[in-house]
């Protein structure tokens, strides 16, 4: 170990210890809780799989987890589809500072306020209905906007899109513009250039953006509850209820880890799908090793 590395170690210690103590240890604790048992608001250390088994066997858990996965996949797909053109535009077409800062503003505008805004927009007398009525597309207000899966998807996309755009921009900015120009010079269409040049090179970043959006969306229980009505029941709400209403922390912990497992499975599936369609190239030796995305 060089002296410089030793100084590095000392400097890293506070942050590393902090995260170890307040992130790794709690996660391990939560995991061990998932094997404990609870009866009537009392939690007893144990080592049983009952929580996992009863969760998997419960039709309720399966239903809300299905809801969460669908909401997560739909939102993450829409989010990625929107963030790719925006990211592309910001990276290669116009490095517009203004657009960039507007996106940052939405990212940092309050989470609850955005949910609230969509509740207002989608209401019977909301903007969406007012516009549709004005344009003559409908002649009576559409009641089905709010408290529907559509409301959940549009609101969640709004909440997580800015972050996804920033990730896509950072993934794309690693690709040299000359590469794209070269391929365009060779007669490839814009779309072709995207699929042949940008997508393979930015694949890791794009998948990262997709997965991160999926995980955050599938775990978000506040938004679906507020704009989704009865279609907004997700695993997150179930877990939160275990911790707040019924005091069954072990069951809540087990459900949280099952949800985590679901995310891992989806990640594997997305990777496999990417390889299968050729969007993700097999590892190439010529390419310098990239840091963790």
């Amino acid at each position: 170990m060089t002296p410089s590395q030793r100084t590095g170690g000392i400097l890293a210690a506070p942050a590393a210890t902090y995260m170890l103590l307040f992130f790794v240890v709690p996660a391990i604790l939560l995991f061990s809780y998932s094997f404990w048992i609870s009866s009537g608001f009392r939690i007893v250390p144990d080592f049983v799989l009952t929580n996992y088994i009863s969760a998997i066997r419960s039709p309720l858990f399966l239903r809300v987890t299905y809801n969460a996965i669908v909401i997560g996949l739909v939102t993450a797909s829409v989010t990625l589809c929107l963030s790719i053109p925006v990211g592309y535009y910001l990276t290669y077409v116009a490095r517009s500072k203004i657009i960039f800062y507007l996106i940052l503003v939405t990212w940092f505008s309050s989470y609850l306020v955005r949910i609230y805004a969509w509740r207002t927009l989608l209401g019977t007398n909301g903007l969406l209905n007012a516009v549709l009525l004005q344009l003559g597309i409908v002649d009576t207000p559409v009641q089905a906007f709010l408290f529907s899966p559509f409301a959940v998807a549009i609101t969640l996309t709004h909440i997580y899109l800015p972050f996804a755009i920033l990730m896509v921009v950072s993934a794309m900015s690693e690709i040299k513009a000359e590469l794209i120009e070269a391929s365009r010079d060779l007669g490839t269409s814009a779309l072709g250039a995207f699929f042949r040049v940008v997508a393979p090179n930015a694949a890791q970043g794009l998948i990262g953006a997709f997965m991160l959006t999926f995980i955050l969306v599938a775990g978000d229980y506040v938004t679906p509850q507020m704009v989704g009505g009865s279609s907004g029941q997700t695993t997150g709400l179930l877990i939160a209820d275990q911790f707040r209403k019924t005091g069954n922390w072990p069951l809540g912990a087990a459900q949280a880890f099952l949800m985590f497992l679901v995310s891992l499975v989806i990640y594997a599936l997305v990777l496999a799908l990417g390889r299968l369609t050729g969007l993700i190239p097999a590892r190439r030796k010529t390419k310098p090793a990239r840091e963790v995305a």
Binding site: Q143, S230, Q233, R244, K245
Partner: protein, 382 residues
């Protein structure tokens, strides 16, 4: 100032004492030292109070003068459901909440099962007396057991059927909402303790509630699904329901807080209250002092204020509910007095107050967790 030098001197002295007390409280000695100054039947108030209550129920406006006269600062965490209260106590080392509001249904859970309630010393609450409180609240088992006062009843009300009188005729039974013409036109509140007793009553098991067998629970919910099939929305938010009623998307609300009526009337929609034959669902909120409280004397003084007839009348009017103090009735406005026939209060409470299902499994009855799960399944459309 010059006219009443004594008063101002007295004030100065009180202030100094208060300041001294505050300093001591900081050193962790506040409570015990505070007791030295307590005159019999009166609690010395001062310092800061941590309160957990429904929005509007913490007497922020009503007790402004009392707070400034006693140097009390109050900080409220608003609850959006009764569960928000016990959530703070499950962790085992609860924060120093001095006062919390609780629905009578949770009495047993809080007092016996979770043991998070410390007894109230009623000698410090002179307003708690048989002359002031309606008989149905004074020293009744819900709040007074094993010779100890666990809670001090504060305010009450009921949830019942609300309907738009332009869109339908007055219903006689909750079952009238199953009429095919009302499909997609009713709303259900996502409020467990408000709905559960009714769910049992609708299958004739109201008298058994909260003790239903798992089989009966299944049957009750199977029946209740019929109401879900009629529902436009199941909402956690009263404001949403009020908006849906105001925009005429919803013609009736299954069992809800009538206080939204005023809000809907303001928008020109005739929402009315009906008392169906199955009865309304009564509730009584009380104050309790959690075991983790650290400003106990002030909490007692606060509870005493909450029972003051004039304060009772003001709060009840503000939140559109009913006082527990019979002396408060004369201070109510004509509207508020007309809402409830206070001379019949004994009859209103004759059928008793709903509780919640037991948290411990006795091998025979459905538990609280079973009911919560049934309710979650109901909401998830299963």
């Amino acid at each position: 100032m010059a006219i009443e030098p004594k008063t101002s001197m007295l004030e100065t002295i009180q202030l100094t004492r208060r300041t001294a007390l505050l300093g001591l409280a900081g050193a962790g000695l506040g409570v015990s030292t505070g007791r030295l100054f307590v005159t019999p039947a009166r609690a010395a108030a001062g310092g800061s109070l941590q309160i957990m209550a429904w929005e509007g129920y913490d007497m922020t406006n009503e007790l402004r003068d009392w707070r400034s006269a006693n140097g009390v600062t109050a900080e409220t965490s608003s609850i959006a459901s009764q569960d928000d209260v016990q959530a703070k106590f499950i962790a085992g080392n609860p924060p120093p909440i001095d006062l919390a509001e609780y629905n009578q249904a949770y009495s047993k859970l809080y007092i016996k099962d979770m043991k998070i309630v410390s007894p109230i010393d009623m000698s410090k609450i002179p307003n708690y007396n048989a002359d002031n409180l309606f008989d149905v609240f004074f020293d009744k088992p819900t709040w007074f057991s094993d010779g100890k006062h666990w809670g001090s009843p504060y305010i009450w009300g009921f949830n019942t059927l609300l309907y738009n009188s332009d869109m339908m005729k007055k219903p006689k039974s909750y079952k009238d909402l199953l009429d095919p013409s009302l499909k997609g036109k009713i709303a259900i509140m996502d409020d467990a303790t408000g709905n559960w007793p009714l769910i049992a009553r609708l299958v004739g098991l109201g008298d058994n509630y909260p003790l239903l067998t798992r089989e009966e629970l299944g049957k009750a919910f199977e029946n209740f699904v019929l109401y879900r099939n009629q529902a436009r929305l199941i909402s956690i938010n009263q404001g949403d329901v009020a908006n849906f009623v105001a925009s005429k998307e919803v013609a009736a609300v299954l069992v809800a807080d009538p206080s939204i009526i005023t809000q809907v009337h303001a928008q020109g929609v005739p929402l009315e209250m009906a008392i169906p034959e199955e009865g309304p669902v009564l509730w009584v909120d009380a104050w309790f002092i959690p075991v983790s409280a650290d400003n106990i004397d002030t909490a007692h003084a606060f509870i005493n204020q909450s029972l003051d007839p004039q304060i009772q009348a003001k709060v009840a009017t503000a939140v559109v509910q009913a006082p527990v103090s019979k002396k408060a009735v004369e201070f109510l406005g004509a509207d508020a007095r007309a809402r409830i026939d206070y001379s019949k209060i004994d009859e209103i409470f004759a059928s008793g107050l709903p509780g919640i299902p037991p948290v411990d499994d006795d091998g025979e009855h459905a538990t609280y967790a079973d009911w919560v799960q049934a309710w979650q399944e109901f909401k998830a459309g299963l």
